[in-house]
Symmetry: C2
Subunit: 199 residues, 2 copies
């Protein structure tokens, strides 16, 4: 980056460490920031620092929140009898957008991946078990991703919870709504076939 | 963004105002930042603020730099007799990467675009003229982009400088080296034909 002066090079370098930002995007971002009014740049920097400072895990469900207990766990209208287990806060948000789920969540912050050396102790699984021991849960819905890691995690949790007698379910795999069959991979098509329901 | 708590929503909102960052990328970036160690986040924020604070235009060529006079203008080995006119600092960096250009630059910070209401007064053209009046320039190489705006700007500058007797040239348009003819648009092919040179 010697084509740019030191401060610019440092800015481009920092930005290109962010996920999905390659060296070209980092340059574009850097020059965008350098051309913004100073107070907008300061506001952006403050927002970043303040979010990192004030956002932490919800004490109950481990989603990221700026409160002690997240608004979902704190909402008396949400049923604590159903816990949906997701891999991260974005997955929680995806289900919240449907507006139809009335239970609470548990965010694992990852999935079991022997390939990457992530075991059951590296995700928030112990915390789920502790929660189930304290609370009067009727159903645990496992909504981990439909990837190898997500499926492994789902399997592991279901075996772990079997002895407790709590109902454990898994969200359905199949053809996405509006999906064109010809563009869908074989594994998904087979899953959709296995999971067929009577009409 | 009511699916996320306030601070997270604000962070995602700020990030999605950046160029090339849509709402999905902003979410991914936000959660990446929230999971980084605090000191790394602070360093990123400081780098952004410091770059914006300390980077300004070079007093001679108007490139972005953290010094009064940029390293290129300050380099006694660079010939001030040749000035390459570019649209922005990234274009300058692109030519610097070739390592073969030994003159200096002039950065316009934009191009004339009647469609977007950008006239000759909105780019650093006056400053180029002032520079030419003070300095002993022999050639102005116009290296604005090969877009409608870039061509318009090139035309405008060449007409403006004609009476001064300074040689004004334009970088060649044509087939990129390694480019496959069949994938190249007609306008470029015609340009390459018009600009053919004897072998």
């Amino acid at each position: 980056m010697e084509y740019y002066s030191k401060e610019i090079g440092r800015l481009i370098g920092e930005l290109s460490t962010l996920p999905g930002i390659g060296s070209k995007s980092a340059q574009r971002l850097a020059f965008h920031l350098l051309n913004l009014p100073k107070d907008e740049v300061n506001k952006l920097a403050e927002t970043i620092v303040s979010a990192r400072e004030n956002v932490h895990y919800c004490k109950e469900c481990f989603t990221l929140t700026d409160q002690d207990i997240c608004p979902i766990c704190a909402n008396p209208n949400r049923s604590k009898k159903t816990i949906m287990v997701v891999e991260d806060t974005r997955d929680l948000a995806a289900y919240e957008k449907t507006g139809k789920y009335e239970g609470v969540y548990h965010v694992l912050h990852g999935a079991i991946s022997p390939m990457q050396g992530i075991g059951p102790g590296d995700i928030r699984l112990k915390e789920l078990i502790q929660r189930l021991q304290k609370e009067d849960t009727e159903e645990v819905i496992i909504a981990t991703n439909s990837s190898l890691e997500g499926e492994t995690t789902a399997m592991y949790i279901s075996k772990l919870l079997k002895p407790s007698g709590i109902r454990v379910s898994r969200i359905a795999s199949g053809v996405p709504v509006g999906g064109d069959l010809e563009n869908i991979d074989e594994v998904t098509l087979l899953r959709a076939l296995e999971g067929r329901t009577d009409l």
